[in-house]
Each structure stands twice: as structure tokens, then as C-alpha cells.
Amino acid sequence: MNTPEPPSRPTLEQQLMTYADAISTSAAPREQRSWARLRRALRAPESRTSRPWWRWRLPLVLAPVAAVAAIAFVLARPVEAVVVAGQGQATAFVNGQSLALRVGDRVPAGSVIRTAPDGWVALQIEGDRISIDTGSTVAIKELSRFPRQVVVEQQEGRTWNVLVKDEGRSYTVRTASGDIVARGTAFLVTTLANAPSEVAMAEGTVQVAAPAGSATVAAGQRARLSAAPPVVDALPTQQLTTDTTATLVDALGRSCGIGGNHLPGCLATAGKAFTVLAGIAKDVSVEVRLPAAGTVGIATAQLKQEVTVPGEGTFRIKLRFLASDSALTIDIKDTAKRVKEAKPGTEAARQENAKAAEEAKEAADKATAKATEAATKAAAKTAEAAQKAQVAATSGSDADRRAARQAAEAASEAAEKAKEAADDAAEDAKDAAEEAREAADKATEKGKEAAEKAAEKAKKEAEKAKEAAEKAAEKAKEAAEKTAEKFKDAAKDAAKEAKEVCEAATEKAKEDAKRAAELEREQAKAAAEKAEATAKQAEDTAKAACEKVADKDACKKNAEALRGAAEQAAEKAKQDAELAAEAKKEAAERVAKQAKEECAKAAEKAKEAQQSPKPSPPPGRSPEPSTTPERTETPRPSPTSSP
């Protein structure tokens, strides 16, 4: 009997295929979902993911086009003035809006720039630089690339224009007096109210055009533009050279050198050579940075100065400019003041700091001594002047009184000078103490203590000096006040005395006139009586003579007539004498009256004299700024104040 064969077991391959079928069967609903997703993707807008061939080559095609477009854009964009430096307040007025200028601002054509009395701004127009000085008003009229043209209207103040050499570009500065046209040069234009504009040349040439004519102005010359044809004359300039790379800087932070030519009247021709024009700011220093102690050589045409620099750091050496019509001389201070310390931490720096502290202490000591000496001298001088004034005031005569007044004024001046000297000395001592303190701040721990002690000592010394100076000034003031008081008393006495003398003189003149008139009258009376007697005698003589003649009656009549005539003559003489006496009396009275008036005037003058001189002001800072150039705190004097 055959048993049925068991069903054949599926092979592994068949099992796998069955497995595949089972997966497919279970995937049916998922297939629908998958298709729905794909359909959405198909119906969605085609995304630009593919990059056809031309898109790969497009950059290559567009690159030169873009380059040309970029060049065209650069050429077509408007020329603008860019603020590259400045300090203080400078405002631009653009389209009726004002904008406080800062570095990096762009100023378009049509703008008006105004600087405050303590503000300045430097603009760059392509390669050209224009530095607008303090208290100036400048309008940027035109900035164009085709044709290349810059037109600046200077309404007031001063501009310093340093232009690159570019024959194709026209650069014009318009002023009320005329135009200055330049191509590549450096020049200073000054426009003051109610005064002719002036252009001063440091380099190159400019063409000036005024209504009455034009002229070419070359380097080292200046021209004044007015209603008359332009006047060109020599400009005092000076060449300054240094043996190390340096920068000229002024109190407003304007530099002339590697940092730029912003300082009006200074053109750096290299890092070590400078052309300086008359009219440059007075408070200019040479700034140098040295890696170690050494000397800095500064030379002008007349002078060569070696200035010792005590160590590493940045130092400033003060310059003083003395300008006349024909020459500009530069005075170089022989000390260098540190403005930036060397890097702290190194041994050299520590030594430097210690040395600086020592030097500062010495400077403070010196300043103290100087202040004391100045105060003593001033006090002595004041006392002497006061004594002189006292002597002169009590002597009484006009000349003496004048001398007294002068002496009082001299005393007042001396007191003022003493005060200034004391202030200066105190200031120097303060500076020295400040330097010492700065040095102390930078020093290492040990050096710092020493420097702080030195600074403290210097400060005390400075305070002492200040106190001494204040005392001296106080003494001087008291002396001046005493002198003034004495002079006042003396003048009062003198006035009183003058009044009395005047009144006495007037009285005397009156009396004299009266007496003279009386005498005149008596003399006239006597003369009249004498004339009457003479007439009577003549009548008698005539009558006696008539006795001898025949016609006696006629003769007597004649004699009587003669007598009458004599009497009339006598009467007339008497009347004349009376009149003359009266006239003399009147004249005497007039004289007396005039004398009285003179006396009144003299009394008035004496009264005025009593009120002068005024006592000197109290010590301390004067309310008005000092006019001493070294101590002037105001930025700069007017550049063209001296023609």
C-alpha cells in the first residue's frame, strides 16, 4: 500500500518570494498614500533646482559685464566730501537740515559747513584735503566728476587746502573779494569780515582772479584780493627739519606730518621736513616717539637745537613763532614734555618712571623756588613803588602829583605782575606735581611708592608756593591799596589847599582891582582939580593981561570963555577918568570871576584825582583771560591779525 507523499517543503527561495508577496499585499494602502504625495509634488510649481548649461556659463559671461558696470558705477556716483578728521563742534547744513559732523560722514555738494570757535574739521574730496579752521563758514558749491571740478565758497574764516597734483581737475575757492583757482598745490585762504581776502602759498602756484585784475601767486608769496588789482608780496615762511620722524601738533589736535596735513599753515614735505607759513597757530609742538632716551635735533634756517629726551615714550617740544612782515622766526624750547608713557613692566620703563618722578620733583622744587623769588621781588618792588607814591603824593605840586599817580599805577602793575608771576610759578609747580603723579601712576610698585611720595611732596611744595604767592599777592594788594589811600588823602588835602589858595587869590585880585580903580579915580580927580586950578590961573593971567589992553570987556569975555573951555576939558577928563576906573574895575572883576572859575575847575580835578588810582584786584584768577602768549588758554589768535 502506497502512503501518500508528504507535501514538499518549499525551498528557501520560494519562502523568500512568498515573504515578498506578503509584504506587497500589506503595502496596498501605503501605495495610495505614496502616490498622493507624489502627485502633490508633481502639481506643485516646478522648483528651479536644475541648472541648465547656460546657468553654469552665465557667471563667465556676466563677469566682464559686471566689471564694466562696477567701473561705470564708480565713475557715475557723485563726488562727496568725506570728513576725515575734526575736533569740537562742526555743523553741516544740508537741504535745510543741520548735522553735527563726525569722522566718516559724507557731505554732498550744496552743503554749508560752519565750525564753532573751538571746532575744526578736515574733509577729503577724492585726493584733495581741505581743513576748515575754527570759526569758519564754507559752502561746498560744486563737486563734479565730469568735468572734474571742485568749487568751494569761503564765506568767513580760514581754510587750508592741500591738493594732489592733477592737471585735469579744477579746484576753486571763491571769496567775496575774488576767486583762487588751483590744480595741485597747498595754500591758505583767509577771509575776514570787512577785510580783503588773502591767499598764502606753501607750494605750487594758484591763479587769483579779482574784479580789478588777476595775478599768479607762487610758493612763498601771498596775495590780497580787494577792489583794487591783487597785490602780491613775499610771505614769511620757514623750513623746519628734524633728525627723526616727527609730527607738528597744535592744542586743537591738528597734526602736520604722517597723520595728515590738517594744521593750517604747515605742510609736511616728508616725515622730517616741514614748510611753515606765517599765520600758523602759536601753540604748536613737535611730537616725537622714541624707543629709548636720546636727543632730537630740530633745525630752522637760523637755529639748530638739540633737545634731550629722557626715555622711551612720546614727547612734545614746544615751538614759538614770531612773525613780522618780512620774516618768520621759530623759537624752540629746550625741554621735551612727555605726553605718553613707555610701556610699563620693563626694567627700562621702571627706571624711566623713577627718573621721571625724580625730575618732576626737581621741577617742582625749582618752581617753588621761582615762585618764592618772584613773590619776594614783586613785594619789594611794590613796597618801593608805594613808598615813592607816598612821598610824591605829599609833596603837593602838580608834577609831584603826576609822579604820585604814576607811582601808584606802577605799584598796581607791579602787584599785577607779582600775581601773574606767582600764578605762573604755582601753575608750573602744579604741572610738575602732575607729571610726577602721572609718572607715579605708571611706575611699578616700588617705583610707584617713591614717585607717589615725590608727587605728594611736590604737591605740598606747590601748595606752599601757591600760598606764598598768594600771600605775596595779598601783600602787594595791601601795599597798593595803602598807596592808593595815601594818594587819595594827599590829593584831598591838595585839592582843599588849592581851593583855599584859589579863593585867596581871587579875593586878592578883587582887592587889587578895587584899589587900582580907587587910585585911578583919585588920580583922575587930582588931575581934574589940577586942570581946574591951571584953568583959573590961566584966567587970572588973562584978566591981568586984559587990564592992559583997550577993549577990556572983550578980553575978559575971551578969558572967561577960555576958562569955561578949560573947565569943560577938566570935567571931561574927570569923566574919562571915572569911566576908565569903572572899566578897570569891571576888568578886574572879570579876572576875579575867571580865577574863581579856574579854581572851581581845579577843585573838580582834584576831586577826580581823589578817585584814582583804583586799588588792584584781589589775588587769584583774573576774570578776563590773560594776554600773555605762553599762558593763553584760548585756541588761537586771529591768523591775520598782523598783516
Partner: protein
């Protein structure tokens, strides 16, 4: 019209985003792709995502690709799907229950067989597994398996042989355990 021309017309229709052409492609290729994904160990959800992602990438890339035939398209889709799965399976994910393929009509034995196969496939080295899945689950001829896996035909045959041996041993061991 030659077969080649027909294929090109079809591919051009795909490039034009012709919906009927894409529907035809999807109907033809969804199942092999899904099986491939599941055979490589993907869950049904990941397998579905894998297929959708493969079609989406083809839709994007088709304008710049050149295919001689729709079969070449399948190879491209399988490679994309494999790469997608590698990325997905490499990522750590929360443990998920392996979904049974709700084959309600299957009898208990077939379910056991399937589970035993899945378990045995999971023990295979990746290369052997890929070749076996492509060859027997997807149903590709050896030449196409070689093209998709980037190997020579001989290498594919060798991998297939070794894979089957390993699988057989695994299932036998599994049967012994049960």
C-alpha cells in the same frame, strides 16, 4: 516603434511631469521599492517614507539625468532608497514595536515562516542581505542586482550563495529552538 524609442518617449513624458506617466511608474515601482525597504529591515512607515523620498528625488533630478530605459530608473530608485535607509537606520530612534504585516488571511504557519525569515535576514551580513533581498524579495535578475549593489555578477552570485547558506542555517537553528 522600437522598445528603445518607447522608453525614451516614456522618459520624456516623465521629464515633462506628465501625471499619467508618473502614475504608471509609481504603480510599477512602488511595490519593489517597498519590499526592498522592508527586506532591509525598515518598518512599514520608514519603508513608505523611503519610497516617497526616492520618487521625490527622482522628480527633482530627472531633468539632468540620462536614462536609457525605465529599468535603469528602477536601479536609480533602489540606490536612492538604500542610501536613504542607511541614513535612517543609522540614526538612533526610540524602540518601536515591529509591526506585523497584518496578513490576516495567512495561516499561522506562514506567519511563523515570515517571522523566522525576518529574524534570519536580520542576522545576515549587510552585503549578503542586500543581495538576497534584491534577488528574491524584489525579484531582480543577477545582472541588475550587480548594477544596483555596485559589484560584479560573480560577486553577486557568490554573495547570494553564501547568504542562502547562512539563512538556511539560521532558519534550521530557529526551527530546532522552536
Amino acid at each position: 516603434m522600437l522598445q528603445h524609442d518607447v522608453d525614451q518617449v516614456f522618459i520624456e513624458a516623465l521629464r515633462r511631469r506628465d501625471e499619467s506617466a508618473w502614475r504608471a511608474l509609481h504603480d510599477r515601482e512602488f511595490s519593489p521599492l517597498y519590499r526592498f525597504a522592508v527586506g532591509l529591515g525598515a518598518s512599514p512607515d520608514i519603508a513608505e517614507d523611503c519610497v516617497s523620498e526616492s520618487f521625490a528625488r527622482l522628480l527633482k533630478a530627472l531633468p539632468r539625468l540620462r536614462f536609457d530605459s525605465p529599468l535603469a530608473l528602477r536601479g536609480w530608485l533602489l540606490v536612492v532608497c538604500r542610501n536613504y535607509l542607511r541614513d535612517q537606520l543609522r540614526r538612533p530612534r526610540p524602540a518601536e514595536l515591529r509591526e506585523t504585516h497584518e496578513a490576516t488571511s495567512d495561516d499561522e504557519r506562514s506567519v511563523h515562516t515570515r517571522l523566522a525569515l525576518e529574524t534570519a535576514l536580520a542576522t545576515l551580513p549587510a552585503t549578503q542581505r542586500e543581495v538576497l533581498v534584491l534577488r528574491f524579495v524584489v525579484g531582480l535578475p543577477t545582472r541588475e542586482v550587480a548594477a544596483v549593489s555596485g559589484r560584479g555578477t560573480k560577486a553577486v552570485e557568490s554573495l547570494q550563495h553564501r547568504g542562502l547558506e547562512t539563512l538556511r542555517r539560521s532558519i534550521a537553528l530557529e526551527g530546532l529552538h522552536q
